[in-house]
């Protein structure tokens, strides 16, 4: 198997540029309403709760719970042809919003369930970039994942 040189890159816009700058470093920025405190994702120009235009960015803790996942076994695009099988997680971050990312370093998917805790940090996304990805949190700790740990 050869290393794929095809990648899928996100298109940043002037309105969500801070998000992607942080994402390339493995951090997830969420939007937070200055007036009512609601936190949401993906980014939007106004608060979906109170319609305030005062929107700020806050860093997610990266901690969350698995809302759902799938193990993609069939490639639907050349950029992930060499990546299958891979896991995609839908994470419910502790701040509230759901977040899609690749889920890595899972040995046995039968252990995954609706209470599985995950930690989001820099790692290999399925389509070739280093981005925030999810790993199962180690039992009893929300310690940061050791970035030197082999995938």
């Amino acid at each position: 198997m050869t290393e794929s040189t095809l990648r899928i890159v996100p298109e940043a816009t002037e309105f969500n540029a801070p998000y992607w700058t942080a994402a390339r470093e493995g951090r997830v920025l969420l939007q937070r309403c200055v007036d009512c405190g609601l936190v949401w994702h993906p980014p939007a120009p106004t608060c979906p709760g109170c319609r305030s235009h005062a929107v700020s960015w806050v860093a997610s803790s990266g901690q969350g719970t698995l809302y759902s996942y799938t193990r993609v076994e069939h490639s639907v695009h050349p950029a992930v042809a060499d990546a299958v099988p891979y896991l995609v997680a839908l994470v419910e971050l502790d701040e509230g919003p759901r977040f899609v990312c690749t889920l890595i370093e899972v040995d046995d998917t039968s252990t995954l369930c609706a209470t599985t805790r995950v930690t989001v940090g820099l790692g290999p996304a399925a389509a070739g970039l280093q981005l925030p990805v999810a790993r199962c949190s180690r039992a009893g700790a929300d310690d940061p994942i050791d970035p030197t740990r082999p995938a």
């Binding site: 095809l6 990648r7 899928i8 890159v9 996100p10 298109e11 940043a12 969500n16 994702h41 993906p42 980014p43 979906p48 809302y67 759902s68 996942y69 799938t70 193990r71 993609v72 076994e73 069939h74 639907v76 695009h77 950029a79 992930v80 990546a83 891979y86 995609v88 839908l90 919003p97 759901r98 977040f99 899609v100 990312c101 690749t102 998917t109 369930c113 609706a114 996304a125 399925a126 389509a127 070739g128 970039l129 981005l131 990805v133």
Partner: protein, 387 residues
């Protein structure tokens, strides 16, 4: 009763039409007009899917129409009920008297809806994920979440967890949906999967596409077109075909209710159920009164979710209802009786509309021998059709 479906038409369904989508659209519309005996020149309205590559400008040239009304419905498969809702509204408000609705696609030979090429851009030798939708948008595509089926695989897993059932039970229920729809396709000579029955062993031997969904859980990719003619009551009563009345319609939208999403309610959630309750109240029917239901089945799990949203099973119980009764002749309300998208054809819901009309007329290849209206639903949009 302000508008009725009076004509239906479809092309052959295949994976290699060797014709343009324009040609397919013309044939399906010609057949729908011939079905009800309406002269092509009498058409004054047109409603289409925004996704259709065949547009109004092309069809007015083909048919010589002078339209007074045209409109489009968005969000792909949500358009199946929505085209009827728009046509009905146009007729009821007097903006048009005879409206054609259609969908035409070379869904295998030109644009494969199961693949991601259609939704990704390309720049500087890299593929670009744009916008914020899942699948394929900037917040999903780089992670390999690239197709509708992958999103629905996550719906299926979440459904399993919320219902509190084992994966085996989920898989058995999904397999029953796929197997029963395939059995209906054996009665439907026009179905792509006619002549190719499916049993549980073959289902389980099917390759996993995105767990827990196997290949038989996903819609086909089809070349073909389907069309219907919607008309005012006086027209409907004058033609030879029996009118199929559009008795209630909802074209719903709320946060993350677009056709495929990961952020909103699961599609059996309370907002979907409220939409359904109001629809049934407007139609003065109960779910149990339905003759049949056409539930948009991009994947098999959509049937379970749709059954719960539209009152055919209580939340968290459709899997059990399907295991007990199936969705075919032995079901209290049979679902997707033509074989649906899983086994008849994938015409983005228009083939489900055509089958709903056949059920109302009594001309389905899997005719339900019971009176009553027929539901066509797709997420937050739905119509009730009545003979």
């Amino acid at each position: 009763m302000s508008a009725a479906v009076i004509g239906i038409g479809q092309t052959a369904y295949s994976r290699a039409s060797r014709r343009s989508e324009w040609s397919l659209a013309v044939e399906a519309i010609e057949r729908a007009l011939a079905d009800c005996g309406v002269a092509p020149g009498d058409v004054d309205g047109l409603v289409r899917y925004s996704y259709d590559a065949v547009d109004e400008a092309m069809l007015v040239r083909s048919f010589g129409w002078r339209l007074r009304y045209y409109s489009q419905t968005g969000y792909g498969g949500l358009g199946a009920p929505a085209v009827l809702a728009q046509a009905s509204a146009a007729v009821a408000s007097g903006q048009a008297r005879i409206v054609v609705c259609y969908r035409s696609l070379n869904g295998y030979s030109t644009t494969r809806y199961g693949r991601a090429e259609r939704s990704l851009g390309c720049a500087g030798g890299e593929f670009v994920a744009r916008g914020d939708r899942a699948p394929s948008g900037a917040f999903a595509g780089p992670y390999g979440l690239l197709s509708p089926g992958q999103v629905m695989a996550m719906w299926a897993r979440r459904y399993q967890w919320e219902a509190g059932i084992a994966e085996q039970d989920l898989v058995r229920a999904l397999s029953r949906v796929a197997i029963d729809q395939r059995a209906q396709a054996q009665r439907n000579p026009a179905a792509v999967m006619h002549g190719r029955p499916l049993n549980e062993d073959a289902y389980l031997a099917g390759r996993v596409i995105a767990s827990p969904l196997r290949v038989f859980d996903l819609a086909l990719e089809t070349d073909g077109a389907a069309a219907v003619v919607v008309a005012a009551p006086d027209v409907a009563r004058a033609v030879a075909t029996p009118p199929v009345w559009i008795t209630a319609a909802v074209v719903g939208m709320f946060a993350y209710a677009e056709s495929i999403s990961v952020y909103g309610e699961l599609r059996n959630g309370p907002t979907y159920r409220e939409i359904a309750e109001r629809l049934f109240a407007e139609a003065s029917v109960r779910p149990a009164d339905l003759r049949a239901a056409m539930i948009y089945d991009a994947t098999s799990v959509s049937v379970l979710l749709g059954m719960e949203a539209y009152g055919l099973a209580a939340p968290g119980t459709a899997w059990r209802a399907v295991l007990d009764h199936g969705i075919g002749d032995t079901a209290p309300v049979p679902v997707n009786t033509s074989g649906g998208h899983l086994s008849e054809a994938y015409v983005h819901g228009m083939n489900l509309v055509v089958e709903a009309v056949r059920q109302c007329r009594g001309s389905s290849s899997a005719q339900v021998e019971r009176s009553g209206p027929v539901l066509v639903s797709s997420g937050p949009s739905a119509v009730v059709l009545s003979p």
